[in-house]
Structure formats: C-alpha cells, structure tokens
Amino acid sequence: MVMKFRTIRYCLKEGFTSIWTNRLMSLASIGTVLACLIIFGMFLLFSVNLNYIGAQVQEQWEIKVFIDEKIPSHEIPIIGEQIKKIKYIKACTLETKEQALENYKKQLGEDAYILEGFDEFNPLRDSYNINLDDIRYADQVVQQLSEIPGIAKVKNHKEFVDRLLKVTEFVRMASLWIMLLLACIAVFIISNTIKLAVFARRKEINIMKFVGATDWFIRWPFIIEGMLIGLIGALISLLLVGYGYDYILKLIYQSMNIFKLRSFSEIFEALAFIFISFGISIGAVGSAISIRKYLRV
C-alpha cells in the first residue's frame, strides 16, 4: 500500500511520542527487553567461552608417535615429512629421547632421583608430538600414522580423546539448546509484555478503527513504537552486558589464568548485531501481532 510522505511522518512522530505518552508501558516493555537480553547475553558469552576453552583444550592435546630404535637418526626427519603430509595435522614436533627423559624427570618431580641411572643409557625412544586441526579426526589420523614405516608405536590416548570429544560435543549441543530455549523464553516474555501493553490500549485501537483508519495506518505507529522500545532495550542491555563482561574478564584473569577467554572487542560486534536485530524485530513483530486482534472491528 502506498503512503503519502505526510503519513509516514505522522506514523514516525506518533510512534515516538507514544513512547512518552505511555511512559509506564514503555518502561515496562523496555525493562523486559533489557532483562531478557541480559540473561540471553550472559549465556551467550558463557557458551562462547566454553566453546573457546574446549578449542584450547583440543589444541593442547597431542598424538605421540614413537620412532623405531632401528631407524638411523638422519632418517627421522623423513618420517616427519611423511607425517606432515597427512590431512588434518596442524603441527608436528620432534621430541628426542633425551628430551623425553627430562620430561619424565619433571613429571616425577621430587622422586626424579629414581631415573638418575638412565642418563647414560637412555631406554626411551625418539617421538613426534602431533597436533590436529580437530580432535574428531583422531581415529582417521592414527590409522594413517600407523601405516608409515619406521613408526614403532602410536600413542593416541584413544579413551581420553573419546571422552574429551563427548564432553566438547555435549557442551556444544547443550549450550546450543539452552541458547535456543533462552531465546524462545525471551521472545515469549517480551511478546507477553507487549501484548499486555497493547491490551491496555485496546480501546484506543478500536476507536481509531471506528473513525475510519485503515489497519496499516493504526499499525505503523505501533510497529515503530515497538521497534524503538526494542532498540532502546537492546542498546542498554548491550551496554550493561558489554561492561559487565569486561569487568568480569578482569576479575577472572586476576583470580586464575588457566584458559584464555574471548576478549570484549572480539565479541562486541556480534553481540551488538544479535541484540539490536533481536530487540528491534521482536518489538516490531510483537506489536504487529498483538494489535491484530483489536483491529477486527
């Protein structure tokens, strides 16, 4: 339907002034959008970071292949080359048997003296430590590794990998579902609030219809009002969640420093996009749907 410019201006003006005229309802709606987005945002950040930590754990995990003692040391790099050709392998570093012994000693800590006798005759083997792009390809990679000649043994911690895979996948799926659930709940609560706010103005909508206004003429100011309310709620929550996250990041880094977390700047843009589009669209759609009922006169 084509609108004259004056009507567009009317709808805009009406939508804006209406927020002020219906202060109580606007505040309640903005507050609700705000509250829902804060919960949603908290969880979003939480799950983003869980995933991030999962990725870091994966990164630190490695497959170890032991080189046969019979292989002369100048051929070891050749095996390294062969390993690097395998798909999904990200990094592959040599650990000589001397380094390995040192590591064992470190592992035993105060009891390292029991390994002292081995310094002269080292019974350990040279090995490659391999990092993967993705822990899920471990089985496949191990299969290919064991086919390379000169590799005596592949230590792949199969059980550990499987368990880690399961945990990661579980966290990923769970956070996805919870996010979805939270988004649904947020939509539900916000649309509830809008419905009530529109309900309080049902007479007004009716009257407009009785005077001869078309559905769209009545609807547009409400939609604009809804969008504006959503936008305001989104902006405030963005501010709160953003600064809150920044604050909590600092708090966490002060108290412990095991894993890296996503920095504020890394997530801000995505967060802003999600919040603002979410706020505006639910505001607009919620208003449009809620007034439908009262337009039928």
């Binding site: 609108m3 407009m208 009785f210 005077v211 001869g212 206004a213 078309t214 003429f217 006169v297």
Partner: protein
C-alpha cells in the same frame, strides 16, 4: 443514501435488538430516530457503521453494500460518514485538537488543510479555548462537542449522531442542532438518535420511532410523540 431491507439483529446472548427493519433515508434528508431506552436505536447506528453485523437483511449506504463489503473496505465506508457516538469515543491520549485532526490525518489530508479546518470546527462547537486539553479534562458536554467536531471535519456524505445533545444544556443543544441543520442544508444526510423531545417537536423533520426493535412510526415532519 441509506437503505435497510429486512434488518434483524439478535445479540449473541439472545437479546433481539432489531426485528425486521425496512428503512430508506434519501440523500440530503434529516431524520430523527426516537424511542424508549433499549429500543434499538444505538444498535441500528452500530449496524450502519458496521460495528455490528446484522443477523439477517441487507444494508446499502453511499454505494457501499454492507453484505458484500470486504474487511479492508470498512475504513472507507466509515470515512464516508461522520459519526457521533453515545459514549463519545475520544482518543484518551490525544488533545482535543489532535482528536479532531486525527480524523483528517487518516484520509491523508495535507497539514496545511488540517491547520485550517480543525480550529474552524472547534470554533463552531465552541471549544476553541479547550484545544490543548485532554478528554478527561473536559466536562461531559464538552466531550460530546469534540466528538461532533470530529464527525463533521471531513464533510461526510452522511452524519450519524447518537444522542449528540444527551449531555448538553438546552441552549448548547440548540446550537448543536442548528449546526447540524446547516450542514444538512448543504446536502449532508443527517440521522440523529435522540431523546430530546423539544428539539424533535420544533424541528418538524422526519421522525422514525423504534420500539422493541420494530419501527412503530415513520412520519415526515413528525413529533417526538411520547406523552409524559
């Protein structure tokens, strides 16, 4: 032009408000609808503006056939008539000025025209000094006059008024009726439901008397006709 054929209206709770109404009101006529409380006057008016749909029968107004009227045509039907409601129906969040201007905004009138017409009509109903007030800040009679100003602002082909003088003192009531008379003289059809016996008796216009949902009397140059 208003034509009702065989109109009946039974509300969902079983109340028969109108029962077989046949009525023709020609273009440019001035008709009073009278009758005791609960006779069906407001129901008749609600049918004309399609606030209610008749249980049976057909209505034609200003070339709109209400039986085949589609939902999105309803606003245009309503714009073709000015309506004064028994319960005023002013927008509570708009001032007097804005309430009247609203009726022009919906037909996308130019702001210039709105700025010219609205003060003129508020002057006609004697409310120039109340333009910036909200409905709840007005007396009953003032609200009624705002409703009338809104009904008249778009020069409608038909003016329908449900007790437009119910909350007015006789003087103001006469001013309003004279105003409606003038408008009728300029070609607008006027239908007015009223209890104002003196006004009906002095005006000598067509009187349609309803009782229990039936037209019991329909006279040119009639009188109110209910003796005290």
């Amino acid at each position: 032009m208003i034509l009702l054929t065989n109109i009946s209206k039974t509300y969902s709770n079983g109340t028969i408000a109108l029962n077989g109404i046949n009525l023709y009101i020609g273009k440019g006529e001035f008709a009073f609808i009278v009758g005791p409380s609960g006779a069906g006057k407001s129901t008749l008016i609600k049918l004309l503006m399609r606030e209610e749909v008749p249980t049976s029968g057909n209505i034609i107004i200003n070339n709109f056939n209400l039986n085949s009227l589609r939902r999105r045509e309803v606003p245009y039907l309503r714009r073709s008539m000015g309506i004064v409601f028994q319960d005023f129906r002013l927008l509570p969040n708009k001032t007097v000025y804005e309430n009247v201007a609203f009726a022009m905004q919906i037909i996308e009138a130019s702001p210039k025209e709105i700025r010219r017409q609205v003060p003129y009509l508020l002057g006609l109903v004697g409310l120039s000094n109340k333009a910036k007030m909200y409905p709840h800040q007005l007396s009953g009679g003032e609200q009624q006059r705002v409703a009338l100003a809104r009904a008249l602002i778009n020069n409608p082909a038909v003016l329908i008024a449900d007790e437009p003088t119910g909350n007015l003192d006789p003087d103001t009531a006469w001013d309003i009726v004279k105003l409606m008379h003038d408008i009728n003289k300029r070609g607008t059809t006027v239908v007015m439901a009223t209890h104002a016996k003196e006004i009906v008796n002095s005006m000598k216009k067509r009187v349609i008397a309803l009782e229990n949902g039936i037209i019991v009397r329909d006279e040119e140059k009639g009188v109110y006709g209910y003796e005290i």
